[in-house]
């Protein structure tokens, strides 16, 4: 995973994976059928964790505003906990059946968030002057961008990071 992320999936050779693992290529192929199989397992790990968030009790009961806030906070947590897997997921472009399948799953996830945002708009907890699909994309654009810079070793913890994301996304950067 580390090598995939450092150089990108396509730019990573099986040789370099084997080298980092201290194995020969053949030994690696003994455990995994193909380079793409590694990608498939990683994408499944990422999408599975994200989809699980939507099934949590706090994501299914309560006001739409509260549910959205919970989902956002948990999504940040999944990003941090499964950083390499989600990073890989977010860089997929649909170059193979495995990638296209992951993109489709992601689209379904996004659609469910959009429904949640729309419900929050309907109940009045989220501003209605921005289309739900656009708001969702900007929201998760911010959340997903975390994988580009967040490193667990840094000064900021996952909970603190989630607080910052929620603060900016919901209340904005401007002072009042």
């Amino acid at each position: 995973m580390q090598v995939f992320i450092e150089h990108g999936y396509d730019a990573t050779s099986v040789s370099s994976l084997a080298e980092r693992l201290g194995l020969s290529k053949s030994a690696l192929y003994h455990h995994y059928a193909s380079k793409e199989r590694l990608l498939e397992l990683a994408l499944d790990e990422a999408m599975g964790s994200l989809e699980a968030v939507l099934r949590e009790p706090d994501a299914t009961v309560g006001s739409a505003g509260e549910r959205l806030e919970h989902v956002l906070r948990r999504a940040v947590r999944v990003l941090v906990d499964k950083l390499p897997f989600v990073t890989l997921l977010l860089r997929v472009r649909g170059n193979s059946e495995v990638e296209r399948s992951a993109l489709e799953r992601r689209r379904t996830f996004d659609d469910q968030i959009t429904v949640l945002v729309r419900a929050a708009q309907a109940e009045g907890s989220v501003r209605g002057d921005i289309r739900a699909a656009v708001a969702t994309r900007l929201l998760f654009g911010m959340v997903n961008s975390i994988v580009e810079w967040y490193r667990p070793a840094g000064p900021e913890g996952a909970a603190e990071l989630a607080d910052d994301v929620l603060a900016v996304a919901l209340d904005g950067l401007r002072t009042r």
Copy 2:
């Protein structure tokens, strides 16, 4: 550029570029020294346009809050106007000297924005309870994510999109 974006730079072969252009590989190599040279030109186009924003009059005079707002609005505009170039830039991972050079330029750009955010915090127009570096990253995480979904053909114009970004980033999604 279109092919690079559809499949990613690494996964794109020179053959596929030539095919899309209706040329042979040799003809393409007559015009450009290498595949990497194409990347270099694209990255330079993207970074040059972004850097130019910081040199505009409205980005250098006035309050820090106003300057930040101007830079954000113009950055969205550059993203939309130079969509393929900026898309490519945002996906660079540092696999070669050309890529590392672009990443370095981008880091400098980010640093200048962070200085601006810090100044806006100091004057009181931006909330001070979030570290400037984190706020900048979340801000541009949202802005940059536009390349993942925005298509000029859609219902939303560039100015309208910038309004939405500014609204969410500065005032937040929550109603008051």
